[in-house]
Every structure is written in structure tokens, then in C-alpha cells.
């Protein structure tokens, strides 16, 4: 099967890859670009472990085709820290013990950053509804929500 040649930007870097039509962006990120920070939990858009942003828009990368990434700017967890400086969300997740097994963490962090970019002062309810597409089985979401609210506070104050 002939493959598509795609050029895009990932975490600010220009990338090129080949992919078959049915390969998803998730498969491309993990298998072609070797960026394994984005995870597959279900493959059907129900768990959010594969969350990335495409042109600033929060999406499930398992529901985007690799070929649809042509010309787009993609942000994954690998691009969240700036050099050695962790994003406040990443720091707050560590401080608040908002992760246990960590498999949902990349997706939740990308989703939470997207929320705070649009709504710097969310209520607890707004955080919970925004993150409803990110399943976590370890934490019961308690410390996750606390960490997001605390990061929001810091970002507002800073």
C-alpha cells in the first residue's frame, strides 16, 4: 500500500514521516516518531490517555489519522516542560501526589494545560467536567483536581 508523506510540527520541531491511510496520529507519534509519552488506553476515544493538541485544539490522537496531521502543529507531553523547567502543572502534580501509576498523567496534563489556557480561574466543577474525557483508575481524581486548581492559582499569581 502506498504511504503518505507528511510534514508537520511536533513540539515546535519540524518532522516528516510516512504513514498508511489508516494509521492514526497516535500510532505515528509512538511507532514512527518514537514519542512514546502519549499512550493508548482504549483506541476508541473513551479514555483520553492519547490526548494531544493539534493547532492548539485538544484531541484524542487515536481518533486523528496521521495523514490529517499534514501542516499541523502538534503538542505532546514531551514538549510540556521548557528545557529543565517543568510546567507548573507538572510540578503541582508531583507536589500533590496527583499521580500513581502515571499512565493517564500525560493525557491529563495536556488536557489541564488546555483548560487553564482558556479558563485561568476554573471552579472545581469546571475542572472535573473538562477532564471527564481523561480516565484515571488509581487516584479517584481527588489529588488531580487539587493539583490543577493549585497550578491555576500559581499561574494567575505569577
Amino acid at each position: 500500500m502506498a504511504r503518505h508523506h507528511v510534514t508537520a510540527t511536533v513540539n515546535g520541531d519540524a518532522v516528516e514521516f510516512l504513514c498508511e491511510t489508516q494509521q492514526t496520529l497516535l500510532e505515528v507519534l509512538r511507532d514512527e516518531l518514537r514519542l512514546t509519552g502519549t499512550k493508548e488506553g482504549c483506541g476508541t476515544g473513551d479514555c483520553g490517555a492519547c490526548t494531544v493538541t493539534v493547532d492548539g485544539r485538544l484531541v484524542c490522537s487515536c481518533l486523528v489519522l496521521g495523514v490529517e496531521a499534514e501542516g499541523k502543529s502538534i503538542q505532546t507531553i514531551e514538549g510540556m516542560a521548557t528545557g529543565k523547567d517543568l510546567h507548573p502543572l507538572q510540578r503541582k502534580f508531583l507536589e500533590h501526589a496527583a499521580l500513581q501509576c502515571g499512565i493517564c498523567t500525560p493525557g491529563i496534563l495536556i488536557a489541564a494545560r488546555s483548560l487553564l489556557e482558556r479558563n485561568p480561574d476554573p471552579t472545581e466543577e469546571e475542572v472535573r467536567f473538562w477532564l471527564a474525557g481523561n480516565l484515571c483508575r488509581c487516584t479517584g481524581y481527588h489529588k488531580v483536581v487539587e493539583a490543577v486548581l493549585d497550578a491555576a492559582r500559581e499561574l494567575r499569581g505569577a
Binding site: 476515544g45 485544539r57 485538544l58 484524542c60 481518533l63 495523514v67 490529517e68
Partner: protein
């Protein structure tokens, strides 16, 4: 599997007409990719329509809104003017999937995928939305309620594309609402969905009403009998009781893993009533 990304509607239609085997329009892909992964469909051609300007824009038209069929749910939800005019349609769209799914999913896809439980469809039907359809024979308009015909089936020809929806000018003192029942607060497919759109006249009596139900029949449907219970009334408790009963009576649901017949029939009435109450409040607030 071929992938094409045409820049015009005509090119997209030509691609669909030109293929012998299965072809699919790729909008948000949030239903299509799942079906492909499950092996339920194996199209030989995907036609990505997201690069076609009139399908991805929201413009004012005759005091109403023309919404491109490939506008994403998030874009629609973020459109303040649209959300103000059609809070009910916006309710429905806001309930689709998750933020991630809404980042890709589209109203055109939600309608043409034709799940009986699609969340934007009852609200669109109640709103009186009209779909603009383009095929090899040209353009036609059709009310949204004529499009879904069964689970996964529409009245469209295989090479027709819905390119936009017209939401008409709003009469004063109008309000719409969409509610659904799901076991969790988010992420579920509607077990029952109800869209209600109504207009109040000068005396505060309801002069127009449209009621649509989702997930209680083989496709989302308008329920004129239910709407009739509101027209000419002050949408008081008695009218709402009759609305609920008519909604329940109109159901022809199935038992499936998401709900039993009995549950759907009972809850359809409850949800329709609650949606009507919200629509009434919203109508009362409009000038």
C-alpha cells in the same frame, strides 16, 4: 485505502461519485475511525472535507446562522452569538463525548452517522434546522428531521454531502433546550435525549413548539403530538404532564445494554418535561 482532501464541494462530490466501492466522508472521524478499527467498514476511499471553506465556517444569514457541516463542536460551543440564540442546540453539541472528541466531532458527522442517540440531532430537529445537501445533480435543502432513516442510515444518496445547516432567525421570546439521560455525568451515549424549542406569544402562551426525541426509536424523531400539548398553553404543570405522556407514548425503543424499553419509555417523559421547563425559562428571558 485512498485518502483525498479536496478544496471544493464539487471536487468532493466528484470523488464520491467516481468510486465503485465504499467511500466515506471524513469530517471529525470520531465515529468513522472507530468503525474502521473495529472492521465494521472498510472503505476504499476517504474524502476529507475539512479543507472546504463553506463547510467549516459559521456565518450570519437572514438573521439566522448558516453553520458549516464540518464546524467542530468546540468551535460551535465557543461561538457566543450562536450559543445565545440557540442554547438548546449548544447544549446538545456540548454533550457529545469529551472535550477531546468535541475538538474534532462535527454536527454534519453527528447527523450523518445516524446513531439514534446522537446528541445534537434532537435539538437540531426541534430548532427546525435545514440541511443544505450537494450531490452530482446539484444542491437541495432538506429539513434535518428527514435525514436519519434508521441506525446508521440516512436518506442521502451515496454521493451526496451535507455541507451546511441553516438555523433560522429567532422569533422573540423563543427558547430551546436539550437534555439527555446518561448513567454517568459525562462520556456516555444518551439513553434518552429530548430537544424542545418553543416560542411564547404576547400573553405568555406558547404559540409554537417543536419536540424531538433521541435514542427511543430507530432514529431521532420529531414528535408533533408532544409539541401539540404545549401549543396554546402557558406550559403549566398540566401541559407538561401531557407533554411527558405524549413523549413516552411516542417511544418505540429497544432493550439494549444501555437501557431497557421500560426505562426509556418512562424516562423519555421525564426528560422531555425537564427540557421543556428549561426552554420555557429561556423563552421568558428573551426580549
Amino acid at each position: 485505502m485512498r485518502y483525498e482532501a479536496p478544496k471544493t464541494v464539487a471536487a468532493a462530490v466528484a470523488l464520491l461519485s467516481g468510486v465503485k466501492g465504499q467511500a466515506r466522508v471524513l469530517a471529525g472521524g470520531t465515529d468513522l475511525l472507530i468503525q474502521m478499527r473495529a472492521g465494521r467498514i472498510e472503505p476504499e476511499l476517504l474524502v476529507d472535507i475539512k479543507g472546504i471553506p463553506e463547510m467549516t465556517s459559521i456565518v450570519a444569514e437572514d438573521g439566522g446562522f448558516r453553520v458549516g457541516a464540518a464546524v467542530t463542536c468546540m468551535e460551535l460551543v465557543e461561538h457566543t452569538a450562536f450559543a445565545r440564540a440557540w442554547p438548546g442546540v449548544t447544549d446538545g453539541v456540548r454533550l457529545i463525548g469529551s472535550i477531546q472528541v468535541k475538538g474534532r466531532a462535527t454536527m454534519g458527522g453527528n447527523l450523518c452517522n445516524a446513531s439514534p442517540a446522537a446528541d445534537s440531532v434532537p435539538a437540531m430537529m426541534a430548532a427546525g434546522a435545514v440541511a443544505r445537501i450537494v450531490g452530482p445533480k446539484g444542491m437541495r435543502d432538506a429539513p434535518v428531521e428527514n435525514i436519519p432513516t434508521g441506525p446508521g442510515r440516512t436518506s442521502l444518496a451515496r454521493d451526496e454531502i451535507v455541507i451546511s445547516f441553516l438555523l433560522p432567525r429567532r422569533a422573540p421570546r423563543s427558547g430551546d433546550a436539550y437534555l439527555r439521560f446518561t448513567p454517568r455525568t459525562e462520556m456516555d451515549i444518551a439513553v434518552v435525549g429530548a430537544g424542545v424549542n418553543l416560542t411564547l406569544g404576547d400573553e405568555g402562551l406558547c404559540t409554537q413548539a417543536r419536540v424531538a426525541l433521541g435514542a427511543v426509536a430507530e432514529h431521532a424523531m420529531l414528535v408533533p403530538d408532544a409539541a401539540a400539548m404545549l401549543i396554546g398553553t402557558s406550559v403549566d404543570t398540566a401541559a407538561l404532564d401531557r407533554l411527558a405522556a405524549a413523549a413516552s407514548a411516542a417511544c418505540r425503543p429497544i432493550d439494549d445494554k444501555r437501557g431497557t424499553k421500560a426505562f426509556r419509555i418512562k424516562v423519555a417523559g421525564v426528560i422531555a418535561r425537564r427540557a421543556a421547563e428549561i426552554a420555557l425559562q429561556r423563552a421568558g428571558r428573551q426580549g
